[in-house]
Amino acid sequence: MTNDTVLELRGVTKSFPSHKAVDNVSITVGRGELHALLGPSGCGKTTCLRMVAGFETPDSGQVLLNGTDIAPLKPYERNVSTVFQSYALFPHLNVFENVAFGLRQRGEASIDSKVKAALDLVRLSQKADRKPSQMSGGEKQRAALARSLVLEPDLLLLDEPLSALDPNLRQTVRQELKALQRRVGITFLMVTHDQEEALSMADRITLMNQGRVEQVGTPQDIYLKPATRFTAGFLGAVNWIGDIGIRPESLHLARQHPGNGASVRSARITHSTFLGDCYHVQAEITEGQQVMAQVPRSQNGYHPGDQVQLWWNSADELHIPK
């Protein structure tokens, strides 16, 4: 473990009576990074988060926070803090008292100014007297963030931070969360099942599947150089033509053979779906083999039944054996 590592899960395993949730998982989270723990539901990512927070104890393995194994410690004995999916704001306390809760537990001085600074940070100074029930979803999330950040944790855990928000609010909050993380410089470990969320926000992603780590890397690494077919498929659609994988945005359509040295297949169009900014065009290469191409609106004009040439650049190919 280097000085640049805040958190390291080392060979962590956790079983529940019904299933093995986490199977020999190792994860490293660097200091100051926004790390996303990504995977489908039931992949063990939330159990990992709960073991870091202290709500679950691993059966075996270590949870190292700044080099110290915190696995046996109670939640209140470790300097990590969680922003819960439901936010879990205390309903009987106003925003100010919610944010002050942790400071009071620590018996800290100058609670007033610390809470005010935290509320300023998340633009909630005007709502300090409000009860959680009187706030919008976005405001509740910011209150929950302030409540955790005011404690200056070594690591902030976020459990599906955007899932309880309105879809049209999520885009903005993604940017805001990332900007906030940069400003406070606290390491964020975020659990999400939404690959777009992970790609757009994270510095690095750990992708999990069925209790194991599938791949670790930057969003670009994971999207452009998936190590497994699961990774390739989870981060976006892939067309498999033999052993070659092509993403829909890399698959191009032409009436005639493009003659540019690219790989080409003849195909017949079966469907064309308008998505606003582009079309998803489905085509049949051979009997029963469908592929999907994402076509810019300006280049559309294809109809079901048309014979076309599909082409792609070899640089865009994904080579992953089955």
Binding site: F55, S81, F84, Q85, A88, R106, R147, S148
Partner: protein, 252 residues
């Protein structure tokens, strides 16, 4: 709609008319069920009756003690059941509600008689209070656990996360959420304890005759308008408690 309203009025009349008649005749000049003019003489006599006064005091004492004990024990029971999520144990609670009072009474009496072999005790205040705690307990657990089940379980985790230990999390976060339900459960327990006749009469001793027991004994000796007055006071008093309990439950 009009028919429906009429139906509702009739149903309420069926429920409440006897109580109305009772309270009207409690203010009757005559001791018979024939109106002869307004009077508060039965109330005056009721307050002057030493047996009724002692029994009322006993009932309040027993009700108070049983309420405090049943509420504390029951709230902790509900909390434990909620934490451990053990439905088999929860469902046996309803057994306690379904058991006929006379059976509970016989069972408690047998239990006490067996216990008296080992302990130098006899039927009295303590045995009545213990009996009342035992039949109030299930009501408290059911009211409190209903509230707990609507509570976000991550609230306690959030408290732990913010540095509170398990006791602080319960005291600072869970208890305030439960407060209205606990008060409501206590009011309910008190009314149930105050009401009880069957079980109490089986486990009471000479020093622990409750108001319902004395009223029953009086009624056996013949009609007394004093009972009308006492009953009216009880109905109004418990009615206020029940309404308060209901209001707190809907509020929580």
């Amino acid at each position: 709609m009009r028919l429906l309203s009429l139906y509702a009025v009739l149903a309420y009349a069926f429920l409440h008319l006897p109580l109305l008649v009772l309270s009207v005749f409690s203010f009757n000049q005559s001791r018979f069920t024939q109106w002869e003019g307004f009077s508060t003489r039965w109330y005056a006599q009721a307050f002057a009756d030493p047996a009724l006064r002692e029994a009322t005091l006993n009932s309040l004492l027993i009700g108070g003690a049983a309420t405090v004990l049943a509420t504390v024990i029951g709230t902790l029971c509900a909390y434990a059941l909620w934490k451990r999520k053990s439905p088999p144990i929860s469902s046996t609670l309803y057994l306690s509600l379904m058991t006929p009072e006379i059976v509970t009474g016989v069972a408690l009496l047998a239990f006490y008689q067996w216990l008296f072999h080992f302990l130098n005790l006899q039927l009295g205040m303590m045995t009545v209070i213990f009996a009342h705690v035992s039949f109030c307990l299930a009501y408290v657990v059911i009211v409190v656990i209903a509230r707990l089940r609507t509570m976000d379980g991550t609230l306690e985790e959030a408290a732990l996360d913010l540095g509170a230990n398990e006791f602080e999390a319960f005291y600072l976060v869970t208890l305030p959420q439960l407060a209205p339900a606990i008060v409501s459960a206590a009011l309910l327990a008190f009314t149930i304890s105050f009401d009880d006749f069957v079980i109490t009469s089986m486990v009471a001793g000479v020093d622990s005759e409750t108001l319902p027991m004395v009223m029953y004994a009086t009624a056996r000796r013949g009609v007394s308008p004093i009972l009308n007055a006492v009953s009216t006071i009880i109905v109004v008093g418990l009615g206020v408690l029940i309404l308060a309990s209901e209001r707190l439950q809907t509020k929580s």
